[in-house]
Subunit: 261 residues, 2 copies
């Protein structure tokens, strides 16, 4: 049995649906059992947690092993569905402190991913999940890219946002100063199936409709395209990210294969 | 200047948001300029079209080259946003006859795609777009897969649903009777980077949470996995489809490469 959530705290949670309030309170909401399970083992500072009576009954061991003191409140299923962004969340949500973005950017070994003006929250979340899958530790986002703590971004990332270092930067400046190969995914580039990917470099993914901006394009050292086999105009930005990363990572296998020839 | 939309027709359009009415009226709604542009060059039978005054003013040539007689109605921006599923659609929508699904299924040359219980409309739409990109002409869906004419499926497919033959079938029966290699994308399969894809075969993609059902699994002749480079649990079903298709299609390039060794 945990204490009931106060009306004041409920109001505070509902406000965090808006970016304006998230920035003002430097806090965001994370929803769902799986994501919060990951949150408990992360470095994020949890302000408090709200769960349904039925969730706590079904998951009595949920907080076992979590050592920091934590405020937990109980609500009904209906109340929880009115608090968060996902009305089908009948389980749990956490209010989390937004970390300060003042750590220095360290390019990943291997691929560093850079997003130029990705606008769709689902796409950003999915791209974060892809970055995690491919062991990419650093993701650079242009300032115009959709906000990380948008609930739809967090949901689509399936917890992966906690495992990738995500920085919002003046992307054009950053790329101009980088000494690494900078590879853009765009129409008219070299066939991604034949391209010799470097051991280390930055992969730039452009906006869903307009692709990579001219200002960013001038910093590219290479460009790659995914061969299509129809009259379809384009692949979704997240798809393109996944396919280029997969081709980049298979380099290891090709190296071995070539040396065996 | 086109006639105003009647209240009766407006009600009819709003009803088509529900699957029950789509099946009863054997009609569905398609929204957005790009999709309707493709619709006009397709074999689909258009019942009527509704657009905003501002859209018709900005696109006076939109119907040029379309030869069949067509009923067109005019509404305000606010009215259009209340008719369809996408309140940001300020342009145009079409009411389209649902084609009868009685044509025989012809397996694609190359890859035929089979979906086992894909539930998320965005995933199905994205997978249709991937199929189109990779020139896959036949997509088989289990009966439990989300309905094709769901507005979110159509939107995510970006018009590609008109270029791929999509059949809802008893997937287990179909696979049992097929003589083609049947390859499942699943954990624990052969590394997709090393796998020798056949010239022709069926690729099975499973449900977002639970993967391929046991009943379907027993029909697989092979299974493949996408190597990950982190502790991330899984890739989204649409991502997995894109990556496996990309690996399958690059076979051509590898063949050439091997023969040059």
């Amino acid at each position: 049995m945990y204490p009931k959530l106060s009306k004041l705290k409920a109001k505070y949670i509902r406000q965090l649906a808006l970016k304006k309030y998230r920035l003002e309170k430097t806090a965001f909401i994370l929803e769902g059992k799986k994501s919060i399970h990951l949150l408990l083992t992360s470095d994020y500072e949890i302000k408090f947690i709200v769960g349904t009576v039925s969730f706590f009954k079904a998951n009595p061991d949920f907080f076992i092993g979590y050592e920091k003191p934590i405020e937990i409140f109980e609500v009904s299923n209906v109340e929880l569905s009115q608090l968060g962004s996902f009305t089908n969340n009948q389980d749990i949500l956490a209010v989390v402190s937004m970390p300060k973005q003042n750590q220095p950017i360290i390019y990943s070994t291997g691929i560093t991913l850079a997003l130029d003006n990705i606008r769709d929250p689902g796409n950003l979340g999915t791209i974060i999940r892809i970055a995690d899958w491919y062991g990419i530790s650093t993701l650079l986002c242009s300032q115009s890219t959709v906000a990380l703590y948008n609930p739809k971004v967090l949901q689509a990332s399936m917890g992966s946002f906690m495992k990738v270092n995500i920085h919002y930067v003046d992307l054009s400046n950053y790329l101009a100063e980088s000494k690494l190969p900078i590879i853009g995914a765009m129409l008219g580039g070299e066939n991604v199936h034949n391209f010799s990917f470097p051991d280390r470099g930055i992969l730039v993914i452009g906006n869903e409709s307009s692709g990579i901006q001219d200002e960013i394009k001038k910093n590219l050292t290479h460009s790659v395209s995914i061969p299509g086999y129809s009259s379809a105009e384009s692949l979704n930005a997240a798809m393109a990210t996944a396919i280029v990363c997969d081709n980049w990572k298979r380099v290891d296998y090709n190296h071995k294969k070539d040396s065996g020839c």
